[in-house]
Symmetry: C2
Subunit: 562 residues, 2 copies
Amino acid sequence: MAEIRIGEYLFRRLKQMGIETAFGVPGDYELALLNYVEPAGLNWIGTPNELVGAYAADGYARLKGAAALVTTFGPGELSALCGLGGSFCEMVPVLHIVGYPSFAAQASGQILHHTLGDKSYDHYVRMSSELSCATAVLKDPSNATAEIDRVLNAMMYHSQPGYIGITEDVVKTLVPASSLDATMIHMALSSGTEDDRALAAIMAALEVSKNPIVIVDGGAGRSSWATHAIELVKALKSLHFNTVMGKGIVGEDDPLFAGCYAGVGSLPATSKAVEQSDCILWLGHMPSDFNTGMFTEDVKSSLVIDFQRFHITVGQKQFQARMNTVLPRLCETIKSSSILSQRTLPAPVEYFPEVPLEVPSSIISQAWLWPRLSSFVKPGDMIVAETGTSQIGALATKTPQGVYYWTQAVWGSIGYAIGAAVGAAIAGKELGQYHRMIVFTGEGSLQLTVQAMSILNRHGVVPYVFILNNNGYTVERYFEGWDAAYNDVPEWDYSGLFRSFAPNLTTNTVKARSAAELDKLLSEESFQNATIPQCIDMTLDKYDAPAGLRAIFDFKKKMAGA
Amino acid sequence: MAEIRIGEYLFRRLKQMGIETAFGVPGDYELALLNYVEPAGLNWIGTPNELVGAYAADGYARLKGAAALVTTFGPGELSALCGLGGSFCEMVPVLHIVGYPSFAAQASGQILHHTLGDKSYDHYVRMSSELSCATAVLKDPSNATAEIDRVLNAMMYHSQPGYIGITEDVVKTLVPASSLDATMIHMALSSGTEDDRALAAIMAALEVSKNPIVIVDGGAGRSSWATHAIELVKALKSLHFNTVMGKGIVGEDDPLFAGCYAGVGSLPATSKAVEQSDCILWLGHMPSDFNTGMFTEDVKSSLVIDFQRFHITVGQKQFQARMNTVLPRLCETIKSSSILSQRTLPAPVEYFPEVPLEVPSSIISQAWLWPRLSSFVKPGDMIVAETGTSQIGALATKTPQGVYYWTQAVWGSIGYAIGAAVGAAIAGKELGQYHRMIVFTGEGSLQLTVQAMSILNRHGVVPYVFILNNNGYTVERYFEGWDAAYNDVPEWDYSGLFRSFAPNLTTNTVKARSAAELDKLLSEESFQNATIPQCIDMTLDKYDAPAGLRAIFDFKKKMAGA
């Protein structure tokens, strides 16, 4: 009977799931395991630290559907936890594989490095269990493959991180190669009759609706249903919208797209159109503060059809139905029904004010920057926007169909964007879909994970890193400490850093001190079609914020004062 | 009755304990709290990310006895956990203060950013409880000051991290200012009669010993007993030694110092002297792998007097006595006893081979480097050595009395050194003891936390950053993957990075490609007395390791093969 090492089994399982790259930082307890990455047909991409590795895995999984991160017991795994917390709450399946000391060493009663000195080996898995839908530390080779499969199945089912701890000795244990033939039950399957009932209820609501709309949001494990969202807005021919978290699924160049809905942070025509609808199909609704203009949405829940991973709510009635199986059936049912002929199809909404063509000679303003970037962004681009002013600002940059776009609207961890961009770009290359990688980040955010520049500039990726350099944590000034020193960050030479992280590469680094300088750059064809990595250090005023963000804070202040 | 906000109470308590600086990264849930840092008389030092902040706090606490780190709920606090794990197992008291969302917001039933999206607020404190001797999330203002005091007392008693979560609303609640007058019971107090019994047993052992020795190790909360160790070796007039973790307490220029004991990693004369002793006073014994030449020590436990924070073991008998109270009494008792006259006082041991004076023209070797640095190191210097070849190599650099030296011999987290150096230097300045800060680190380790360069070069600190640039994780090659790609790291321009992280400062960056180049640099008086930050990028062979490290791996290999 053919046999295979458990370490190789693990990576071959990942390969079967479509994972072609493992990210991570090597550490001695994990080295035995890393010897099986390439034999299993995966690539290894080492990251400068574990947090960058976790963000890269998150970015990769958002595009490819799953990812793997490998770290070492103790310091290594703990350094990754912030990244995995983000994957957990934003429903991104990342497998965290941790190399453990051998059981022989554990049983020796000696104090091993990377432990807490108390000869206990379960502290860290307990910590990770708070951020994982399933965990296993493989102890018994006889059930190791079953345990691996259990964690992988749970990870894909819930679309959340899983954790597998594997010791140096278990890694090398032989198991039957035929274990690889067992079927994985990755995805949420149809729930049968509940799907039928939900579908009937949705169609009943649509039949009486005069102006249904679709809001494409970003919850519920986006990659499992994103393509169906595109089908749905085509089939329904209604106005449709996105949210902070849902941007990048359906193209904003569609004539019936009518803006990003973020409560009082929305443009007036957008919120009017949403709030006047009598039937809102809300895909992957994620009612977090950053995704709802700080809870300033104004729609009646009785009018909402709420599509979630494991349930669909129509008005007040909840069905244990699955959006990823109901959505394609809904598209077909709409096409074969008469509902489109029963209502007046909507006219496009001019939600976005005409962008002024003249270029101010002054400093780059948030009001000018984001609309200006619209003509720079092209189908095929991948964009990652950092939490903060980039996240809200980028709502005013039009992303046509075929642009991949992500931002963290629940976790909101600064430093995420540049790390996630690494993984997303690698995933895009593997899928043959990579065109350009564009990162929008603040300089304060970038400081947390700046070493990610080093790997973003390798592996054939040609990034554009747009840095909003505004003397500190601007979005925090709006919360508290308008002029407080704690909201300042030290000045760095970002161009010098960008070059120094990849000294053997030719790169282009630009300091854009005015709108005119940036406009000129964006207009150059050689910049638009760059073949070398680009870093654009943009000077902005420290108090400047996108209009949407100001509107939200003004509203909150008014409410607090009322 | 005078009142004070709870936020200010917290920081005033820290000030009373001698903490003058708080480290951290601001985040919106914590901003209300940060407004009280300066009014309480503390300085705020923002760090580029939380992991660097945690390492800085650790370095600060190792010198000043305690430190504070402030982060925000969720992503912020989780990013710091690796640093706190190190503080926990190496007994360094760091208070982790976490800013929580207000109870009003928590009770709203809405999904707040930085949460896991499940409206639960206790995941993270549970995670931190694995790495803390005490935790509190302040909920009830009426017992908030008592809870703060409880955590602070536990932290100082156990010499380990504590965790305090504080919401935006509790921060601003008023409490009586007189709460600040309550006495803190920081330190481990004498255990009375158990101390007496332990002291009697130690003296009885010393009275019959012909060649007692002292090993100054690094466990048991070093800062609480380090000064007594210096007294003890003076009083006892015996040979004395240190360990990887105990280096930097007693000066190696003392004539009776006879080397670092690390099992088969020791120099022959050192291990001979240790292993022939009939009575070993072992201060803060920490039997971790990295601290014992991978468990290759060879001493009979019946001959060891083991001094720990909460117990002292004489041969096989354990007393619930405290080393920090027993040690000063032991010194006095020895001085007034006749034991010194009853035995032949030892002659100095020539444990260290004479350093060859000629400078090789070739690449810098580990064998040449570390002894060469001995004449560069001066009393008053602070040195932090990274885990890996630096940690073992630096054992061959003589550190005279008055040199502060740290390395992580349990936690072994790469990336630690440059972060810890930040905090240690700040602490040294506050104590008026700062002279020069010297960091030894590998380039692979530095990549994890390279942004720490940015703050190391500020605040009036003039560091020397010596980078062992050897094409990857050399120490890991000795464990596994001698030529594996996963042990390589990308090439960076460290000089460019050093300058770019502090563009407004004049710095000196040097690339030392040969021993001759480095020797010349070290000989220059302007370098020795540098007034601007120095970065020395040293080229080493990728397979080169200190002799002690090679000896340990050779021994382990022989044992495995036997």
